[in-house]
Symmetry: D2
Subunit: 141 residues, 4 copies
């Protein structure tokens, strides 16, 4: 298993709700930033993926919330590719509080590759992304 990609996100005030903690929906945004940062680190910033005519659309999303993130916290989004298929990628996530490394949440998201130029039809992952994911999963040799 490769090392997870880590994205550091200071909690925004607008991400809280009147419960006094971060709203559970804010984590969904963080996970998206986590997976696009991971893909960018492999050479595939999502704006370029879109310009090539592909979209990576979320098909499934699972989140388990353990402890609340709070305003004043910085969270770490640790993202790994758990596996990929011909037309989809499954990401796994952990969200930690930076200060004490407590695990606040964990989750998974499956994204499907779509061809924006062919009416959003399901599409094979482009070969260079596929190769990069294989190298990522096999790790440095």
């Amino acid at each position: 298993m490769p090392e997870p990609h880590e994205l550091r996100i200071p909690v925004r005030y607008s991400e809280t709700d009147q419960m006094g903690v971060v709203h559970h929906g804010s984590y969904v945004i963080w996970l998206e930033e986590g997976r696009t940062a991971l893909m960018a680190s492999l050479g595939f910033p999502y704006d370029e993926v879109e310009k090539r005519g592909f979209a990576m659309a979320v098909r499934n999303l699972d989140l388990r919330y353990r402890e609340p993130a709070k305003y004043g916290d910085t969270v770490l989004v640790r993202t790994t590719v758990e596996r990929f298929r011909s037309a989809s990628i499954l990401y796994h996530y952990e969200v930690l509080r930076e200060l004490d490394q407590r695990r606040l949440a964990e989750g998974a998201a499956e994204v499907a590759c779509l061809n924006l130029r062919r009416g959003w039809a399901p599409a094979q992952l482009p070969t260079d992304i596929r190769t990069a994911l294989e190298n990522y999963l096999n790790g440095p040799t």
Copy 2:
């Protein structure tokens, strides 16, 4: 199984993203409005629940996205209580496009009852909520 509660939500422009459809995170907000509307219809508006010192915090969230909602659509959030335990409620959701009743997404959320006055400790569901949920699940007689 009782009839699902139905909440009608016109898509907001700000809920879209540059993929040209509703951002997947927007559904999380809709589900929250769905379950609070269901509980309000049973006599428990969430602002009053909070004033009594309880919070209903999301513990688990699952979403499966089937077809994209678009700006111009009105969606129907159909919420049911699938089951409840002493200190938690499991909601099930379907999100439909009103126009053609196509199912756009489905999901589940488990919320835990917390006692805000005892340091957010897990708490039994208040008796009146528990009774209302039992009546709701048993349906009209």
Copy 3:
């Protein structure tokens, strides 16, 4: 001056922040829904405006916050067209609490008409929109 268009919006839980009231950014979303609802009532739903190749992009935004909206409130967004020019529309807003009709906020937004098919160049308002706005401002005869 024509009667303002009124859009009724129940506050969403996710629109609050840990100050215990609605986050000031949420009003910006409400105003957008207010002006698109007004234009839809004149026969110009914004999704159709976009399909015709036009965008109405916000150029200026002003908001004055008087009293906080709270979760449990329903707000009324009262929108009027204050004036329009060849390529822009100036909207005026009031946000009221439905229960006691207290004015919570007021504001203005100027939107510019852009031609999406000509590289987002500033564009004259389409003639039918212009005519509808003239009739709206002159009121029923």
Copy 4:
């Protein structure tokens, strides 16, 4: 005039809308992060201000949008304190695209100091904040 505080914010995908650029409401969130980062740099992280029983509530907000921020951009939020009074602070903002330093938007926000322990009554700025703002405005000597 002191140097503006600069906060670097990579655009999030969820901050875009189907116009293909950043939604105008997203800037409001960025400005809030800009002013809280400036105040934190002066020694007053907002979570600590709240713990001391004060809120800094937005009273007025003005934004002028010049060019759209896009996904893939990193923006710089440049925040200055324009002036302060006994119970309020006026911030001025510029939002720039990092790559070419183009000014995308500018704005202002006035925040009022409230005493959370006295029913949200308007309150004098705490003395230490007042002193820090005076030093900030007078600049290094």
